[in-house]
């Protein structure tokens, strides 16, 4: 829908559109709650203005009052005008938005009890340069020399500024991409049904959960006091999906041997990557003179077992997709 430029110029507050709102849909039903949660995104005021002026309108470019529009208003605008002028409709809109706001408050409070959202936000503070560099590191970690993480008053710096810090963006994206690529590969083999997507998803998730439980359990049992948090563990266990996705893609584009080679490469790279990263994070206890050698040996065993489990899982999950017996 074309809007004459002078019309748009009269509403400068409309220029900033909330994210994910392309394509002329009405503003999302998120009435702005007064929480610090949204202050980061800096969308609160714009959303409020957009919402107040846009509700009931099929076209976002027009404000609520159709003054000074181009020529005669079309049929949609007339319908919207009638809809808007109905006081009951506008009241219902406001009531619905307040309900949505309350629901969001309740959900946020409950989520806060389970998992602090500010900690999770730390893991998603990434930008394109970080993602590119980290992916390059996952592909080829052998030339990287400095694996330490800089800390800022007992807290690691955001991944945006520190390439060695773990993040949750790449693992979650890699997981979803892996599921989609798996579906595609199954499709090329005529084995695809929509339920397969769900089964593959839950299967991968189950293995991930089991691996995380084993990780946390062995950290506790071996008494390795380290600065690794639970979300870090999810991140480290999720990096293998990158390798699995790329090897599946390579395998589907050419033969199975290429798949095996690419998988082998990524297994080696991931083992190297994890060993280097974990060695920095898991500090062996050196206070007790008796436990000095024991501590380092235990941490070495731990790092070795974690790193070597990754190729196993990578092979297990992706080979069931790639290799199949023709019945």
């Amino acid at each position: 829908m074309d809007v004459p430029s002078e019309y748009r110029a009269t509403k400068p507050s409309q220029k900033r559109r909330p994210k994910g709102n392309k394509g002329g849909q009405p503003a999302p039903q998120m009435a702005p709650p007064q929480q610090a949660y949204y202050n980061d995104f800096n969308m609160q005021n714009q959303q409020q203005q957009n919402y107040m002026q846009n509700f009931g309108q099929p076209d976002m470019f027009f404000s609520g009052y159709n003054t000074g529009g181009p020529g005669a208003p079309g049929p949609e605008q007339q319908f919207a005008q009638q809809y808007l002028n109905n006081p009951m409709a506008s009241m219902a809109m406001q009531y619905g938005s307040s309900l949505a706001g309350q629901g969001k408050d309740i959900v946020d409070k409950n989520i806060e009890k389970v998992m602090s959202s500010s900690k999770v936000k730390y893991y998603f503070a990434v930008d394109t340069a970080y993602v590119g560099k980290k992916l390059g590191l996952l592909f080829f970690p052998f030339t990287h020399s400095d694996w330490s993480i800089r800390y800022n008053q007992d807290e690691p710096i955001a991944p945006r500024y520190e390439i060695n810090a773990p993040d949750l963006y790449i693992p979650s994206m890699a997981f979803v991409t892996y599921l989609l690529v798996a579906g595609m590969v199954l499709g090329t083999q005529d084995r695809f049904t929509p339920e397969q997507l769900g089964t593959q998803a839950s299967s991968a998730l189950v293995w991930l959960i089991m691996e995380m439980l084993a990780f946390s359990l062995s950290l506790y049992v071996m008494n390795l006091k380290s600065g690794i948090k639970y979300l870090d563990i999810i991140a480290y266990c999720g990096y293998k999906f990158v390798g699995m996705t790329v090897s599946l893609l390579a395998g589907v584009m050419s033969s199975s041997t290429v798949y095996y080679f690419v998988l082998l490469w990524f297994c080696l790279a991931l083992v190297f990557f994890l060993m280097r990263t974990l060695r920095v994070q898991i500090v062996p206890q050196s206070e007790v003179e008796d436990g000095h050698t024991r501590g380092t040996k235990r941490s070495l065993y731990f790092i070795l077992s974690v790193s070597l489990v990754q190729p196993l899982l990578m092979w297990w999950l992706s080979s069931s997709i790639m290799i199949y017996k023709r019945l």
């Binding site: 998730l205 089991m210 049992v221 008494n223 297990w316």
Partner: protein
């Protein structure tokens, strides 16, 4: 091998049940895994004492909720197979 989330839940419940069944006096002390035998103020708790601590704490924490979870699982299995 496609494992679903329900299978994981069942496996977890079974494992927790197994850990909670181990009786302190009748069994663990006989094997040498009793609690009094190992509780001391050592500087560095070894793997074994950490494991025993883990077993003991699982038993203490999960005994009552496991009763409820087991009853619920039994009812669901009876109803839905």
């Amino acid at each position: 091998m496609a494992i679903g989330l329900y299978s994981l839940l069942e496996a977890a419940i079974l494992c927790l049940n197994a850990v909670c069944i181990l009786h302190e006096e009748r069994f663990l002390a006989k094997v040498g895994w009793g609690v009094d035998q190992h509780k001391g103020f050592g500087e560095e708790p070894g793997v074994k004492s950490q494991l025993l601590n883990l077993i003991r704490s699982i038993r203490t924490v999960m005994r009552i909720p496991l009763i409820g979870v087991n009853i619920a699982t039994m009812v669901l299995k009876l109803l839905f197979g």
